[in-house]
């Protein structure tokens, strides 16, 4: 039995505010927060749908999380939703980031600031990997080998993502093709 996703946002404004609030609290990378808000809280997407949209967002050029906002916006409101989703993800956080940049140029020599930023990075890394493991639980075991390959190639060996995709995407799709009924 697969759980159904809840109905999505009722208006463009709700969509914009949802992504703005998501983006402006997403310390340490947006993805864990997106999973928390879209799947666990608002239930707009099931885990399977989330992984599927994320996979397509990653395949396309562009920041994954911006593509995800665009795709989800388009799913509910067509091109208007795509534009609003993207703007929700970018406008307020851009103002925040530039303000922080101006402040940082004043305080970057204070050691405490730098030490805190490094510690936040270490914690953020744990959150991101935790999200990946949660997502893996929704997948059939048969295909997870490709996930391990992708991790070893990009994470451990640090090969460029573009080249890894050039090899793994056709291989994974070709193998899946064999298993899908015509």
């Amino acid at each position: 039995m697969t759980p159904e996703s809840a109905p999505g946002p009722k208006s463009l404004l709700e969509l914009f505010l949802a992504f703005t609030s998501l983006a402006s609290q997403s310390f340490g990378g947006v993805l864990p927060w997106a999973h928390r808000m879209l799947v666990e809280r608002r239930k707009w997407l099931t885990r399977e749908e989330f992984v599927e949209l994320l996979a397509f967002a990653q395949l396309m050029p562009g920041p994954n999380i911006c593509n995800l906002a665009l795709l989800l916006g388009a799913r509910y409101f067509g091109w208007r939703g795509a534009v609003v989703g993207l703007l929700g993800m970018l406008v307020l956080p851009a103002i925040v980031v530039v303000s922080i940049g101006v402040l940082y140029s004043e305080f970057s020599s204070v050691p405490v600031v730098r030490h805190a930023v490094i510690g936040m990075g270490a914690a953020a890394a744990g959150l991101i990997m935790g999200t990946a493991i949660k997502l893996a639980r929704s997948q059939s075991k048969r295909w997870l080998g490709f996930g391990v390959l992708a991790f070893v190639a990009v994470g451990v060996l640090r090969l460029p993502v573009g080249w890894v995709m050039l090899v793994l995407v056709p291989a994974a799709v070709a193998l899946a093709w064999q298993f899908e009924k015509p």
Binding site: Q25, F27, A55, V169
Partner: protein, 184 residues
């Protein structure tokens, strides 16, 4: 900076936008080459700090481009370069998705879905792994091997708590910041 040079940078970023498979940071080395080495609009330190700040701040990491733009050409620079890096890839994603959703039942789209999902998970795990290394190496450079191991443990503890509980991630990030101050 004059408007013409700014437009030249924006045009180049439009081109890079189509190459950002796997996220904006994948083209950051080429942006560095263009802005710092070739044009001399920014220093190397300004460039690196822009990326670090965007990662520490909330919001998508691609906002480091707004910071670069701000330093290159003030407010118009920030707006123009941020649009340039996002618009072309977004148009491509939008139209490719329209085709995809129109053909959901075809065998190729179903196979793409099944085949790509595990890759998405593997790339996400890689992202976390790379950030973990960055933090550990940064800590090691500041305070030696024990600090480097400490950051590794901090990442592992966060991972376990994130998996085992439904705690608000903000607490974990704040805990990380505090631990960074105490350990380093």
């Amino acid at each position: 900076m004059n408007l013409l040079s700014l437009l030249e940078v924006a045009l180049y970023f439009c081109f890079l936008s189509l190459l950002t498979v796997g996220g904006g940071l994948t083209v950051s080395s080429d942006m560095n080459r263009f802005l710092v080495t070739e044009k001399g609009y920014l220093t190397h330190a300004q460039f690196t700090e822009s990326i670090a700040l965007a990662q520490a701040a909330p919001g998508p990491n691609i906002l480091f481009v707004a910071l670069l733009g701000w330093q290159v050409g003030g407010l118009p620079g920030a707006i123009l370069l941020q649009i340039a890096i996002v618009l072309p890839s977004s148009l491509l994603a939008y139209y490719a998705n329209r085709w995809r959703t129109g053909n959901l039942q075809t065998r190729i789209v179903r196979a793409t879905r099944t085949g790509l999902s595990p890759l998405a998970i593997g790339f996400t795990l890689s992202g976390g792994w790379v950030v973990a290394w960055g933090a550990a190496v940064g800590a090691g450079a500041l305070a030696g091997l024990p600090a480097q191991v400490g950051m590794g443990i901090l990442t592992a503890v966060t991972l376990v708590i994130a998996l085992a509980t439904r705690i608000n991630p903000l607490w974990l990030i704040a805990f990380g910041g505090l631990a960074g101050v105490l350990i380093l």
